[in-house]
């Protein structure tokens, strides 16, 4: 049980990239971080498959008592979380600082 893990995602989270992203995040979670922070500042697109993958990540975080927080999410992606009814599973923060402060 250690420090929070901060993962910076970039580009598209879609049919092509989701499996690889899930594997990488899985490796971080294997180390049992105190929390998982996903930096969305350079994420340009999320598809339904990407959303499903992120939901699996959220489920795993919950299972291992590792709070999850996202930060710097663009408006279209915030809208996507909202219409998918998943806002409660993905706490979204404006910056890395506020995300880190929230998970303490």
């Amino acid at each position: 049980m250690g420090q929070p893990s901060i993962v910076k995602l970039t580009g598209r989270i879609d049919n092509v990239t989701s499996a690889g992203i899930e594997t990488n995040i899985g490796l971080e979670l294997d180390d049992k971080p105190s929390a998982l922070i996903l930096d969305f500042s350079d994420v340009t697109f999320v598809s339904s498959i990407g959303l499903r993958m992120l939901l699996m990540v959220a489920k795993r975080c919950r299972k291992q008592n590792s709070p999850l927080a996202l930060h710097s999410v663009s408006k279209p992606i915030v809208d996507l979380f909202r219409v998918s009814g998943m806002t409660e599973f993905f706490p979204i923060h404006p910056s890395r600082e506020t995300a880190l402060a929230a998970i303490v």
């Binding site: 879609d14 049919n15 939901l55 408006k75 996507l80």
Partner: protein, 138 residues
Amino acid sequence: MGESLTLHVRNKGDAIAPANEAAETWLTMQEISPEATFFAGLTIEELVTNCIKYGYDDSGEHIIDIELSVANHTLTITVVDDGRAFDPLSVSPPDMSGAIEDRPIGGLGIHMLRELADNMAYERRDNTNRVTLIKRMP
């Protein structure tokens, strides 16, 4: 006067990325909102993926036509495929009331398009499925 772009997308997974790039390049030149650009990418990704997965009875090549047009602060996307009859408006929304453990993993794609679009219409005509989505821009 409006502008439009038509893409002919093969029913193969690797055809989605080039289609998205072509759409994005064209949309950038139309100066449309970030929400509308995102929505166009989502429409292409979700509907083409659905066609590839569920649309056809044979293993042959099919073409999915995607027309994008911008006029009067409105983005209109029309997707035409010659696959099995499928009305996306007939799909029930996924159950979104459950705790995280109970949330279904599937069924999100069409629901997201329906919620984000200002209008979505379906027509079956001449053995093709025609889906039209409208996104208004402020």
